[in-house]
């Protein structure tokens, strides 16, 4: 046991000491923060006041109402500048001429070359009321959020105009067509958790992503480290001092602890930047049009608040079991190769299930208790992904959770046993890369 601890300590300290570890530990949260905060900042920046010309080709109050609606629109963030400044141009009968004259002044306002330039020209015609198509010529048409906002503002105005022309009281209709919203709240064990649907998805996605990343990065580190010990020949001294299984165990645990260590650094960072996390998850879950709004509202349900202690325990247990499961396979694969290049070909059977694992999340989120979800909870390759995700979405019977964990423990033992036998022969085999047929022979005869 003392020897195993020596191996664990060596793996841990030598890894944590490297520049690569320090850089990746700092860089990853930095990148994540950039991905979450930057879009919010950019969206806010893009939403300065737009100077819009309304070219009115319709008699009556339609133009006035549209103008008023634009002027009245506000952002949720009340400190932001108003979205639109509007100027009306009466143009009944000569819409095209007026539009063209205004277009010549459009897109220049920002450069201040023409004092009364415009960012966009909105053309209202009789055709608008019939087809619902409104012509808009602008510098910002590429901004989906901006265009959705315009549509959202103009839609009720068009509807009202149509209703009035048909002689219907718009007030009555507006009441009748009031929007329906689902306010999602997760219920677990008969209690409201205060967790919204968006936060649920964000949480599930976060867990799966972290598991995926750790398996890929640290799992393959186990493999590379085995190959390096072989190619540097230090393995001869090690193999004559320790049992191969002790060596493999120490290596897998040591590297795994580095992963956990890094994870806990990130978790601490995430807690610290919780508010940014919430806005990120809002972005992930909502449609793009709502992004700006979601990003602006930092007071929304934080996905971090949705994490229950039971979920943390389940995630960690499955995280550790999943890592042991895959890392043992990575170690066996590493022992079959003499150079790092060789590993590229034989690691496929290990990395493929991991990649499939991250894809299962979409099916799981849609239908956590579907056949797929229930089945893969009992397949060791995907249980580490499936169980925490399902548990985070829907209440699971304790029996199912424990059964899945028990299955995982047994699988880890079985894989460790097989991998140990492959490893024992593999680490001392040089020359050509071993085939899977060789591997089968090692398992039988070792």
């Amino acid at each position: 046991m003392r020897k195993v601890i020596a191996v664990i300590r060596r793996e841990f300290i030598e890894r944590v000491r490297t520049r690569a570890f320090v850089i990746s530990t700092i860089l990853f949260p930095l990148l994540m923060t950039m991905f979450t905060v930057l879009p919010a900042i950019l969206l806010r920046r893009a939403s300065g006041t737009k100077h819009v010309a309304v070219v009115e080709g319709v008699e009556g109050t339609f133009g006035i109402r549209a103008t008023e609606a634009l002027l009245a629109s506000r952002r949720r963030d009340t400190s932001a500048p108003i979205p639109f400044e509007v100027e009306r141009f009466a143009a009944v009968g000569r819409v095209d001429a007026v539009r063209d004259s205004i277009l010549s002044r459009t897109g220049l306002s920002r450069k201040r070359q023409v004092a009364d330039g415009f960012d966009g020209v909105l053309v209202l015609t009789e055709e608008t009321l019939v087809s619902g198509k409104i012509q808009y010529y602008g510098t910002n048409v590429g901004s989906i959020a901006e265009m959705r906002r315009l549509e959202g503002i103009l839609q009720p105005v068009v509807q009202r105009e149509r209703l009035e022309r048909l002689g219907v009281d718009p007030g009555v209709v507006l009441k009748a067509v009031g929007r329906v919203d689902l306010i999602t709240q997760k219920v677990a064990e008969g209690k409201l958790t205060g967790q919204s649907g968006e936060a649920t998805f964000g949480l599930a996605y976060g867990m799966v992503f972290i598991l995926y990343l750790t398996l890929m990065i640290y799992g393959s580190q186990v493999m590379t480290s085995v190959v390096e010990e072989k190619s540097s020949r230090i393995i001869e001294v090690l193999a004559s001092s320790l049992r191969p299984f002790e060596l493999m165990l120490g290596k897998v645990v040591g590297v795994g602890l580095v992963g956990l260590f890094q994870l806990s650094i990130w978790a601490a960072t995430a807690l610290y930047l919780g508010s940014f996390g919430a806005s990120f998850m809002g972005r992930m879950g909502g449609d793009p049009g709502d992004a700006a709004a979601a990003a602006a509202s930092a007071g929304g349900p934080s996905f971090l608040a949705a994490i229950s202690p039971a979920l943390v325990v389940i995630f960690l247990v499955l995280f550790i079991l999943g890592f042991l499961f895959y890392a043992a396979m990575f170690a066996a694969v590493g022992s079959m190769c003499s150079t790092v290049q060789d590993t590229q070909q034989v690691m496929m059977p290990v990395t493929l299930p991991i990649m499939l694992g991250i894809m299962t999340i979409f099916a799981l989120v849609n239908d956590p208790n579907g056949t797929l979800g229930r089945v893969i909870t009992f397949i060791p390759f995907w249980a580490p992904f499936a169980l925490p995700v399902r548990y985070s979405i829907t209440p699971l019977p304790l029996g199912e959770v424990l059964a899945s964990i028990a299955m995982m423990v047994l699988s880890v033992i079985a894989v460790a046993w097989v991998a140990g036998r492959v490893y024992r022969v593999g680490i001392l085999s040089y020359g050509k890369k071993a085939s899977f047929r060789d591997m089968a022979r090692w398992i039988r005869t070792a």
Partner: protein
């Protein structure tokens, strides 16, 4: 500890296509220096690897300290310097040695202390905090040598310990080995350099092409090889000297080095006759001494010139 420390019984190891070691039996007595000699590719490293339990013999048994358990269960009592040197390149020298000590089963604190003492003794204490990759090859070899004996093992297996070392470092390591042997440790080392073995070993085994050809205490081996040997050197008229040495009634075998030679007299030949013939030949004798056979000449005689240049084929396959 009495009796044999390492007992190899009828061990055979085959690799794809050839037999590396064939029915090899040998016993390494406790204490002293045991030389495992042989040309390149003779099976020395394979034998040592089997003793270290890195390879499993196809036939036969190996017992260490009288017990048939695997060497790694006794790893605290065994030190091993493999032929293929290997260290973690990115580790610091001090940390590396502590780890090797721990892997052998000694406590961390004691490993640290011993590593420090050995680094001091071998004159590389200044490099304790440096990474292994910053060291020269010779220094790395010293580090690995320390790693093999750090835990104060009773049995030390050194596979070609002096290859690649300059004379000064060779001397330092030789001194350590001799000192350990004096303190009662058993050292088994392999080499193909006979002068070294001759100076250091109490007991030798020579193997060639996987077969044992010589086994015994060095003094016994020399006596058994028998014959009368004469070491001579001369300063001129080499062609005439060659003529004299070519006389099969006088000389059985010549190990010719040009200006000097080791000669085995023909049975019944008289050293005086050889001396007379050489003086008559006016070869400017600088040395003429009746000696025991050198290990080198025994080696050549037993192994044969062709086997001495056997191709090295120590591919390791499981």
């Amino acid at each position: 500890m009495s009796g044999s420390v390492v007992k190899v019984e009828g061990v055979t190891k085959r690799f794809a296509g050839h037999t590396a070691v064939q029915h090899l039996s040998m016993e390494v007595p406790a204490g002293g220096i045991f030389g495992l000699l042989g040309p390149n590719g003779a099976g020395k490293s394979t034998t040592i690897r089997m003793i270290m339990n890195i390879l499993t013999p196809d036939e036969g048994r190996i017992a260490l300290f009288g017990a048939e358990s695997a060497s790694r269960d006794l790893s605290e009592r065994i030190g091993y310097l493999p032929e293929e040197r290997g260290l973690y390149k990115k580790m610091r020298v001090g940390d590396h040695l502590i780890f090797l000590g721990e892997a052998k089963g000694i406590a961390r604190s004691s490993a640290r202390q011993k590593a420090g003492a050995w680094l001091e003794r071998l004159g590389i204490a200044d490099w304790t905090m440096k990474k292994v990759e910053d060291l020269s090859k010779g220094m790395q070899q010293k580090v690995q040598f320390i790693g093999a004996l750090l835990h104060d093992p009773d049995l030390l297996l050194l596979d070609e310990p002096f290859s690649g070392l300059d004379p000064v470092n060779s001397q330092v390591m030789k001194d350590v080995v001799v000192e350990l042997a004096r303190s009662g440790k058993t050292i088994l080392f392999s080499t193909h350099i006979m002068e070294q073995a001759e100076k250091m070993c109490d007991h030798i085994v020579i193997i060639a092409r996987g077969l044992k050809v010589v086994d015994g205490a060095l003094a016994d081996v020399k006596r058994e090889f028998g014959g009368r040997h004469i070491a001579l050197s001369f300063t001129r008229n080499g062609d005439r000297a060659a003529l004299v040495l070519g006389d099969r009634s006088l000389v059985d075998r010549v190990d010719d080095y040009g200006a000097s030679a080791e000669v085995q007299l023909a049975p019944g030949a008289d050293p005086d006759r050889l001396l007379r013939a050489l003086v008559q030949g006016d070869v400017g004798l600088a040395r003429f001494e009746v000696v025991e056979a050198s290990l080198q000449s025994i080696f050549i005689a037993k192994v044969g010139a062709d086997a001495a240049t056997a191709p090295a084929q120590e591919m390791v396959h499981a």
